[in-house]
Assembly symmetry: C2
Homo-oligomer: 411 residues x 2
């Protein structure tokens, strides 16, 4: 039987163990929700003080040039590019995943005239589906969202499909799709492919270029540690950029925003996917979040993440057998992202009871508890401590007492 | 002849004079660009420290409920509503002006089937026009942007016009449109009306309800003091909300975002105009900016603003006569917003020379200098000091020496 000391020993040998010191995690808390809201980097508060007091407060409007505010969407995009296997000129930070999906879906449909279908997986993250529904309604049915089960995706790639739009890691089960195989299948069918990297960027190496992916979006507030509601990013393969046009053509995506021309002319490259004035405070916070990855090999993150999730699954099954738990994530770590989903008929109450004991995961109706392992700051002892808390709750029926107020947390 | 002491005396009698103490303006600087980037409120830094350290850092994901993050788009919207003559349930803070214009234009066109024209003013703020151009291109011409001169707007309101979209205050000249008259004209022609309040919200009382305006957008980073790239707001008259649908239908605009339903169902009321996850840090900074208006009567702001701009025009014409300056703003203060535009053939160099002397305005090609007066923090002596600086520069040709690096500032 494994003891806490065994997990402490794993932490002692963890090449990433010092990274946790970069985060302001409360003592005694086991935080397993970095897949929903990344922890606060210690450096962020000082970065925000500087941008607020010195740049905004003292240098005011001149900071757009003096402090490079104007370049932030591309500069922060380049910092993300390294984590997702993209070139520095292929990524820009702007808007939200929802808005960016709309831009990219419109641009993709325009590149595939005569094809009207966006193909996606039934049960994919809702906002992704809602945005295509909104587009379809706007276009009066000339765009169609086609939803199928994951194992039917390839068969559904017919000559009507303009875009295959997928969640790289499923937000519920944590299942990781085979990016290379699905991209090849889309390309063979003449379609473009778009991956939503919300649950993979920053948790595992994403090889967009190596897999010849066309388009991607992702979020700044999960594994990238950019803070609540941090702006999102989008990726457009360099080979496609000049041919693409998107309809949310705001002035920051113009070739000469400060010429105040009457007609829109798209900026060169990925900057044409910008729209309105960029959110400077949020961009600087996200940049500080990304600095927690400096010098880290994404492969090392993946290795640790796979071990953490594997140990969690094994320990749940060893320690909590007979309590009605059911692991809903793939057993093969190569087919799993960085969170583990566990079903329990009383999952909502169990999740509350865990929070009351200082183990923060989250819950997705009707019965799914999610536990995210952020390899930059989660420890092997977090695996042990969370499973011990789970055991204590289930073995004493303590969840029945959980009368804790807790609204559903955010994706 | 008026002396600096005369202006000091006006400041001494100014009922708003203590408000300046709420802002962290650098000593010795005459800041006349609050129409581009509002000054930093002193309270903002502490608010951001709290949201970062306590809410994000300590309470993490639970803050969506515990600290009311989930309600921020509507709560901050309600704080703006007071300044623009709207009901608290008619305004929400989200995205950028560009994105919000797209949502509202689509929703308006849907309410006026058979009408395909968005009518606007030639020379209006570029991003507003670009967004409708993007929509028109996406809709393959089934939406048309029609641009006419301001005095031709009413004549152009024919049976094809679905939406009249206007800048309340012109970003260059500062000209203020007659909201009531144009709204009545639009309604008589069967069109809806949308005002962009970027240069009026927070500077003068905007009476959306009193004038029966349908739709509006506005920006958080100018007179509302929300910080660089602060999120924008949108207004939808209560009487229209339930009938409106917008295509950027992200999960935060869903009736039950955390039910993770497959099909989009719009939220009740103005919340259906939300899209992605709201930017919490920026929303809290904007909320702090809005608190600088607490207890201030918008009418008092307007009165001071009109006096400041009127005195500036008079003093420019008295002190700087013969130097090739030409006031490009309306002379009637009732037809003017809160900034004054002044033409000079060497305006770019003069603007740089002013900045080198600590007078911050901005410049719009080819020859327009803009001077914004934010009645919450600008003083009567700012009028005097800026005109004295202008006189010193023009009378000595000092602008010829201005070799100061200065990229164009933002809107």
């Amino acid at each position: 039987l494994r003891t806490r000391a065994d997990f402490e020993a794993m932490d002692a040998k963890d090449p990433l163990r010092c990274r946790r010191d970069r985060f302001a995690l409360p003592d005694g808390l086991v935080y397993l929700d970095g897949n929903s809201l990344g922890a606060l980097p210690k450096a962020t508060a000082a970065v925000l003080q500087e941008v607020v007091q010195q740049e905004w407060g003292r240098d005011l409007i001149t900071s757009w040039n003096r402090h490079g505010w104007i370049d932030l969407p591309r500069r922060v995009g380049a910092a993300i590019a390294r984590l997702i296997g993209a070139g520095p000129d292929e990524v820009v930070v702007t808007d939200s995943i929802s808005i960016n999906l709309f831009k990219l879906a419109c641009a993709a449909l325009r590149l595939r005239p005569g094809r009207r279908v966006v193909l996606s997986e039934r049960g994919g993250f809702p906002t992704d589906l809602y945005m295509i529904q909104g587009l379809s309604e706007l276009m009066d049915g000339r765009v169609e969202l086609r939803l199928v089960a994951a194992d039917e995706l390839e068969a559904a790639l017919d000559a009507d499909v303009a875009l295959l739009m997928l969640n790289h890691v499923d937000y519920r089960s944590g299942r990781l799709l085979d990016m290379g195989r699905l991209t090849r299948a889309a390309h063979e069918a003449g379609a473009l492919v778009l991956f939503d990297l919300a649950h993979s960027a920053g948790a595992l190496p994403v090889e967009l270029r190596a897999h010849d992916v066309d388009l991607a979006v992702g979020c700044g507030y999960k594994y990238l540690n950019g803070g609540p509601g941090a702006p999102a990013f989008l990726f457009v393969a360099a080979r496609l950029q000049e041919a693409m046009r998107q309809p949310l053509s705001g002035w920051f995506g113009h070739a000469a925003p400060f010429a105040f021309e009457e007609a829109y002319r798209p900026a060169a490259g990925v900057a044409r996917f910008l729209s309105g004035t960029p959110p400077i405070l949020s961009l600087r916070a996200l940049e500080a979040g990304l600095e927690t990855f400096d010098g880290v090999d994404p492969g090392a993150l993946r290795e640790k993440s796979m071990r953490l999730t594997q140990l969690f699954i094994e320990l749940i099954e060893e320690r909590c057998a007979g309590f009605g738990l059911d692991v809903a994530s793939p057993r093969d770590p190569k087919r799993r992202g960085s969170h583990v989903a566990v079903r329990h008929a009383e999952g909502h109450a169990v999740s509350k009871a865990l929070i009351a004991r200082g183990v923060i995961g989250d819950f997705r109706a009707p019965d799914l508890m999610r536990f995210g392992f952020a390899p930059l700051y989660n420890r092997y002892v977090d695996v042990f401590d969370s499973v011990e808390a789970m055991h204590a709750i289930l073995s004493t029926n303590a969840w029945k007492d959980a009368v804790f107020q807790h609204r559903e947390s955010v994706t």
